[in-house]
């Protein structure tokens, strides 16, 4: 196995185990075993578990952003753009349940809260599309006049909740339902 392959095997195994069992349900020894690698080998690629966890997250972000942006057209009406981004994101979560579960684990941990704080205070988002959309919508009086953080909460809250329900098997989302859900999200924030 090449060096690159080995790193990828570790990432894959860590992702799977953490997504499924949480950070504390995925000991390094188990990750090593699933990656078919010695326990010590992981430490040749990642300084420690914390760093493995945050690098996994960074990898994921970089993988997601282009997918969300795909087919996004700035000249379309705001509502249409919102629906495009929203369905894209929800679809991504449903098609990549492991990614979604990993994101949830990360966000519900001290890592995630810190990360979020940095982002909000430092304004250093990795994906400007939603923010720009909200700002434009508010200034053009199309979207309710809430602080940006709340517009995010009002849009992503239901989106994430529905994705979770689908992935946990409490409901089955098809294309029609996905569209209607995102439209409902839009109804929540539009004026």
């Amino acid at each position: 196995m090449s060096k690159q392959d080995k790193r990828e095997e570790i990432v894959r195994a860590a992702m799977e185990l953490i997504a499924e069992h949480g950070f504390h349900g995925a000991p390094m020894a188990m990750i090593a075993e699933h990656a078919k690698v010695g326990a010590g080998t992981i430490y040749r690629y990642f300084e420690n578990k914390d760093i493995l966890i945050t690098e996994l997250y960074r990898d994921l972000e970089e993988k997601m952003f282009p997918v969300i942006r795909e087919g996004y057209e700035l000249n379309k009406p705001i509502r249409e753009r919102f629906i495009h981004l929203g369905t894209g994101l929800l679809r991504y979560f449903i098609e990549n349940p492991l990614d979604f579960r990993y994101l949830e684990q990360f966000h519900n941990s001290p890592y995630g809260v810190e990360h979020r704080r940095d982002k909000i205070l430092g304004e250093k988002e990795g994906c400007h599309e939603f923010r720009d959309l909200f700002e434009e919508g508010v200034s053009r009086q199309i979207i309710k006049d809430f602080p940006l953080v709340l517009l995010f909460a009002l849009s992503f809250g239901p989106l994430v909740s529905t994705a979770r329900d689908h992935i946990l098997g409490f409901v089955t989302l098809d294309d029609d339902l996905i569209t209607r859900i995102i439209e409902a999200c839009w109804d929540g924030i539009k004026k």
Copy 2:
């Protein structure tokens, strides 16, 4: 300290520490110390940590339901009833951040998922108000025709996200904002 007091001290300490640091950041020894109690004493009241955790949750549910129901009037219009329940819940979360954080910890853990699965499959909710409201709203064509689980996700998703943002200090919710948020939730589910 009386026996009852001791139990309450343990519950309070466990609640505080778990809400703040998560299940894994709140060792039994630390809980004991904060409750000013020997480590072994906890085990006289709770068989083990899992049982402590789930009983804490049950206590919380029983404490919350009456607060949410307070002032609820079945003869009011559906929209008004929804706003009443919603603002009550959001207000409760904001006034009891520890309770909220504990609920989040619980729901994002294997305990919570199992609990939720039981609830949804067994239809054994502890609080029927929201469900009844949604069912009535759907059948009277006032609320969008989504499966019940999705109506919950669409309502609670944003509610929980905004509560979290407030508690983590990303935004400050006042009475006006709370009302507008719940109205936005309503806009999301109403036809």
